[in-house]
């Protein structure tokens, strides 16, 4: 039953590739020749500063989104429900974390960092919850002798 838009199954692997590729770029940014001077910040879209942002943060985010919202091998209504449950819990948990951490932060610079973290934290919580539920489901099925 197709109830909502999801990426095809192969996008899960594309997501993993995007996520993994961004790690060496972050680690070897100097060797790769990225320049973070004021001039490159002012260079706009094709400036080194913005290009670095695109191949790290945005590549990682694209990877996470593709991995989180691609179809399972066999997609059905029960998996769709697990996905919706996990999404709801992920939003609750990430907002609780956000509210608590902002309440405990008096420094505005730290508050900005927390907001930056919140770009990917809800997605990661969702992925962990959904994979955990899927894993538990398949473990129950294995334990249950036919």
């Amino acid at each position: 039953m197709k109830t909502r838009f999801l990426f095809p199954y192969w996008c899960k692997y594309l997501g993993i590739v995007c996520f993994v590729v961004h790690i060496p770029i972050v680690l070897f940014q100097k060797q790769l020749g990225f320049d973070f001077s004021e001039a490159s910040k002012a260079a706009g879209f094709w400036g080194s500063y913005h290009l670095f942002y695109m191949v790290t943060t945005l590549l990682m985010l694209t990877g996470l989104v593709l991995f989180a919202f691609s179809k399972e091998k066999i997609e059905d209504e029960q998996i769709a429900q697990l996905r919706m449950d996990s999404l709801q819990w992920a939003v609750y948990l990430s907002y609780i974390l956000l509210i608590i951490s902002l309440a405990l932060t008096t420094n505005k610079r730290d508050a900005k960092d927390i907001m930056h973290l919140n770009v990917w934290v809800p997605l990661v919580i969702f992925i962990v919850l959904f994979r955990w539920k899927m894993f538990r489901n398949s473990r129950y099925t294995k334990e249950d002798a036919i």
């Binding site: 039953m1 998996i79 249950d144």
Partner: protein, 66 residues
């Protein structure tokens, strides 16, 4: 809601995996329905009933508190 899919499967002599394939869902879904951890949609319930050639009410029954 309770169901007797396990019994019906035994009568028809098919496994969870075979039933899952017949109605195009995962084996985990059949398992969660059988163990009352998931309530299927009307469409899925009708498909299951069709496989066993019986009315839906003979396979799925309401429980007190539903």
């Amino acid at each position: 809601m309770k169901n007797n899919i396990r019994v019906e499967r035994a009568i028809k002599n098919i496994t969870q995996a075979e039933l899952a394939e017949l109605i195009s869902v995962s084996r985990q879904t059949i398992n969660t329905i059988e163990s009352n951890r998931y309530v299927p949609s009307t469409i899925l319930a009708l498909k299951i009933a069709r496989v066993f050639g019986k009315p839906v009410e003979e396979i799925f029954q309401l429980e007190e508190g539903d």
